[in-house]
């Protein structure tokens, strides 16, 4: 079954002005999201994954030295070209966002009922009474017990997990077609995270909405995402179906990351794999492949010329930004045979 493409980002660049000139936090990324699909965006801090999400909704004010380039097509319309008044109709209505830290994203001086109905009253032509009832329904949907009572409470009266549920309820209020979740479970404990992921998966199936799930936790990606884009220093270095990515990572950065996580089973006496060095700063980006300085396979070509994100021939839908992906994969296969 072919799903329709909901969002198509092509060659998006986001530049921020600084004292020493423009810094390019997101540098030419392209991806798409289909209806009813969960796309994971993973990467370490500073790789531009949050800026990408915020750029889709144009949350960075263009008046203050922010420049967008490229195209973000949502249902055929280029969001970057829309006037701000039209953009307001999209935000929270068509595309909504859940932020990482629920404690600082909810307004402490309004009740949670107020904050949920705000979105409803703004975008939909309904009475206050109806909005109130809808808000109770939403709270029930995200699994908050006794919603009639909770709706009059303030954010500080709720625990972190409950606050994040309220954030999700606000995000879902207008039944958006696309939900952007920026590290929605990072601030939560694992047992609470399991509850929230469960809700998100259920809602994704029931409401058929597309989800962009931003996280640094590869475990979470494996649990809920259909496809994954791996980011490094403002670029996508690999894109693949989740199954393929974990089965056969193509980019050395992806495989390095996967091998450096401690496992829940198997031998634990071995030292962990290390991706040596640290991420270069955005104002001193290397000219060749951005990962070259940390890559065990890098050669002269990598240092000189930047590889493009290209389709990988063996696997359908997989893309990789590496000169030597085929060679590395072959070597790894050989190693596998010899150790077996």
């Amino acid at each position: 079954m072919q799903n329709e493409t909901l969002l198509e980002v092509s060659n998006l660049k986001t530049h921020f002005g600084s004292d020493t000139g423009f810094v390019t936090a997101v540098d030419g990324i392209s991806f798409h999201v289909e209806e009813g699909e969960i796309l994971g965006v993973v990467g370490e801090s500073g790789c531009g994954k949050s800026v990408t999400a915020e750029s889709i909704l144009r949350l960075h004010d263009e008046k203050f030295n922010t420049m967008y380039e490229g195209e973000i097509k949502y249902k055929g319309e280029n969001l970057l070209k829309l006037p701000l008044s039209k953009m307001e109709n999209i935000r929270g209505n068509e595309i909504s966002m859940i932020f990482q830290d629920p404690m600082s994203s909810l307004n402490p001086v309004y009740t949670i009922g107020n904050q949920i109905t705000e979105a409803l009253l703004l975008h939909q032509d309904i009475s206050k009474k109806e909005a109130h009832n809808k808000a109770i329904e939403l709270l029930e949907l995200v699994g908050i017990p006794s919603p009639e009572k909770r709706i009059t409470e303030y954010p500080h009266e709720l625990s972190g997990g409950m606050q994040q549920r309220v954030m999700i309820a606000i995000g879902l209020a207008c039944q958006p077609s696309l939900l952007i979740a920026d590290e929605p479970t990072t601030a939560l404990d694992v047992t609470i995270q399991a509850q929230i992921l469960d809700i998100m998966l259920r809602l994704n199936k029931e409401l058929k909405m597309g989800v962009i799930f931003i996280t640094h936790d590869l475990g979470v990606v494996a649990e809920i995402c259909d496809r994954v884009a791996v980011m490094y220093l403002g670029q996508i270095v690999e894109e693949a179906r989740t199954i393929d990515l974990f089965e056969q990572p193509l980019h050395p950065y992806t495989s390095g990351l996967l091998e450096s996580i401690p496992k829940m089973d198997g031998d634990r006496s071995k030292k962990l794999n290390v991706v040596k060095g640290s991420v270069p700063s955005l104002d001193s980006i290397p000219q060749g492949c951005r990962f070259a300085s940390r890559c065990p396979f890098a050669d002269e070509l990598c240092l000189k010329e930047m590889p493009e994100l290209r389709p990988f021939k063996d696997e359908e839908g997989s893309k990789v930004r590496c000169w030597h992906a085929e060679k590395i994969l072959n070597e790894r296969k050989k190693e596998h045979v010899s150790t077996d």
């Binding site: 609470i192 475990g219 974990f246 496992k263």
Partner: protein, 330 residues
């Protein structure tokens, strides 16, 4: 190795440790004490030489308070902590300061635990000055030596903390603890603020230093796979209590306490093919101001029985060194 452990006596023996924080009314002391937050409620841990004891639990379970109480960074309410035949809780002034030469701590947040106005060299030298170890030149030599041990260069001596990344700062945090040659290091979530690729560097460093210097770690963390990788024994904390304690392999083979089972099943695995049954716990952590009666977990436990709300379960040995506090096993 576990055989050896049995014969040795523990390096650090913690018994019945409690830490209650008083809660006062709006006017501070005026209204009197309204109640107590029972952050750590009667825990006992033995730490052996060269061993890593992992303490896991979710936020608010009291694991960090436990770590801080051991060094008396917060004064424990009750209990005894024996190190080298001395009860730490009875020490004061100079004796306590001398003891801290042997017991050191590494903190969670490498950004707020290094003084931004001091140069790295000065930060690392400070413990030596406080402990009055060596003269000026010896101290600088020692700092240089320790910097090399944690993988930093001598020219970093004159730099400021802000010039370094999170992983590098955590190396300095570790160096500061190591500079006085301690026996025990309490690591309070030392890698949870770091990215995965950096996290593995620090874990490897902790392990190789342990081998080289025969250190004992009390490793406090919420990330179960990290704790599994580094620990010899693990204690699982819930609401101020240790509900299960076992050697790592034994605990990963079989989790006995329903909370441990739920906690372990909630960890997302980086393998999309491995679909497992998740136990989803209902509700949130109860407030430690008013912990549930009987077993503290009974409000969320899928197997709760009548007795669970009435009596507190005793610690029971189910397998070799595998302890659990749960009525299901009585």
């Amino acid at each position: 190795m576990s055989q050896q452990i049995e014969e040795r006596s523990p390096l650090l023996h913690i018994e019945g440790l409690k830490k209650y924080f008083p809660v006062r009314g709006v006017f501070g002391g005026l209204g009197g004490v309204k109640g107590y937050v029972k952050a750590v409620n009667d825990i006992s841990i033995d730490l052996y030489e060269g061993e890593t004891y992992g303490l896991v639990g979710e936020s608010g379970c009291g694991k960090s308070t436990a770590g801080r109480s051991i060094l008396r960074l917060t004064e424990p309410t009750e209990g005894s902590i024996t190190y080298n035949g001395q009860d730490i809780l009875q020490l004061s002034g100079k004796d306590l300061q001398e003891l801290r030469r042997d017991l050191q701590m590494v903190f969670q947040d490498p950004y707020s635990s290094l003084n931004p106005r001091k140069r790295i060299g000065k930060i690392l030298e400070e413990p030596l000055i406080i402990q009055s170890i060596g003269d000026k030149k010896e101290r600088i030599d020692r700092v240089m030596e320790i910097m090399e041990k944690v993988g930093m260069r001598p020219d970093h001596y004159y730099r400021f903390p802000h010039e370094f990344s999170g992983g590098q700062r955590q190396r300095f945090g570790l160096a500061r603890a190591l500079v006085v040659n301690p026996k025990v290091i309490i690591c309070d979530e030392p890698v949870s603020a770091l990215d995965v690729s950096i996290q593995s560097q620090i874990i490897n460093l902790l392990q190789s230093l342990q081998e080289e210097l025969n250190l004992s770690y009390l490793f406090i963390a919420h990330d179960i796979s990290v704790v599994r990788h580094i620990s010899d024994r693990i204690g699982v904390m819930y609401l101020g209590k240790i509900v299960e304690e076992a050697p790592t392999d034994s605990l990963f083979k079989e989790q006995l306490h329903p909370y441990t089972q739920a906690l372990f099943s909630a960890v997302p695995l980086p393998d999309p093919k491995q679909k497992k049954e998740r136990i989803i716990l209902k509700g949130d952590l109860p407030s430690p101001l008013n912990p549930p009666s009987g077993c503290v977990f009974h409000t969320r436990c899928p197997f709760a029985m009548d007795i669970c709300s009435q009596a507190e379960p005793e610690k029971k040995e189910m397998g070799k060194d595998h302890f659990v506090a749960c009525h299901l096993y009585n």
